[in-house]
């Protein structure tokens, strides 16, 4: 099996379970060699990023069903236009850009007021989904690391979208400034300054949480 997202967690089933919504051609027609090559390449280049795309979609929609729809749409579009993907460039960045465009077209039309943060929604969402989280190491000594995942998550989501977005793309997904600039349709200088301001805002939020829970924020250790 070539697909590898996460050890022991990802398997391709021989017979995929029927899903809602998707109408797929089940006909077992013989595919051309070219088509099969395309599928294989798509699998190696694009499908391996499914996990990251799903997480990004979750952050944007705050709703697992919407996130699933968004990722599905993204892959459908990506496959259809796979020929226009510039080989040798970052496929993950290409997919993220498609996902973001889909999100804007689909969800932002009737979106909430910009900049408004619904803390209850964040909290509910987090609790609804946290059972499915991946394990991560708990061996930390720094006081900020005593902060819970949930608090960091909330702090991130309390930021205005333009700041949250670049922080996610840079710190979580590891994109370069150039890739981020392309994704958010802004010059690199803007990405730089949003990251600078966003991290400062985030720092203030994290310190609030740390103080609230009685951690000494005056010293590193």
């Amino acid at each position: 099996m070539r697909i590898y997202l996460e050890p022991g967690r990802f398997q391709i089933m021989d017979k995929p379970a029927p899903t809602h919504q998707t109408k797929t051609p089940t006909k077992k027609e013989a595919l051309s060699r070219e088509e099969r090559q395309k599928q294989l390449e798509f699998q190696n280049e694009a499908v391996v990023h499914l996990h990251s795309l799903y997480n990004y979609a979750l952050h944007m929609t705050m709703n697992p069903d919407d996130a699933e729809d968004l990722v599905q749409e993204t892959y459908l579009k990506a496959y259809r236009f796979f020929n226009s993907f510039e080989r040798g460039t970052n496929c993950k960045a290409w997919l993220f850009k498609i996902l973001k465009n889909n999100y804007i077209n689909r969800f932002r039309k009737n979106s909430k007021e910009p900049g408004k943060v619904d803390y209850d929604l964040i909290k509910d969402f987090y609790h609804s989904i946290k059972d499915t989280r991946r394990d991560s190491s708990e061996a930390d000594t720094d006081y900020f690391h005593s902060l819970l995942h949930e608090e960091v998550y909330q702090a991130l989501h309390s930021l205005p979208e333009e700041f949250r977005e670049v922080i996610q793309l840079c710190d979580i997904e590891g994109f370069t400034y150039e890739e981020i600039a392309n994704m958010v349709d802004s010059p690199i200088g803007t990405v730089r300054s949003r990251l600078y301001r966003g991290r400062k805002l985030l720092r203030v939020q994290l310190e609030e949480y740390a103080k609230k829970y009685g951690f000494n924020t005056g010293d590193d250790q």
Binding site: M1, T19, L50, Q72, R192
Partner: protein, 85 residues
């Protein structure tokens, strides 16, 4: 370099997106300015926290399956035919 310029370069320095020349000026400013130096440490730490603490969720199996269907994959068959052709 003054504090204003150093702050413009701050995130780029944290993310390794700074040029060699810029970095030289930036670091020499930091060695002389405690405020910017502290800010730089804070920014690095904030990045680290986000990197380490934000949970990555698993994509649901239903989604994985539908992506497979969307792209019409029958991987085993595909790989075998390609291998033995």
């Amino acid at each position: 370099m003054n504090c204003k310029t150093a702050r413009v370069l701050m995130s780029a320095a944290v993310d390794g997106e700074i040029s060699f020349k810029e970095e030289k000026g930036f670091l020499s400013h930091l060695s002389a300015c405690k405020e910017c130096c502290d800010e730089f440490d804070d920014a690095k730490k904030t990045k680290m926290i986000i990197k380490e603490r934000i949970i990555q969720f698993k994509a649901p199996q239903t989604l994985i399956n539908s992506i497979m269907q969307l792209t019409n994959f029958d991987t085993r068959e595909t790989e075998e035919t390609l291998l033995y052709e």
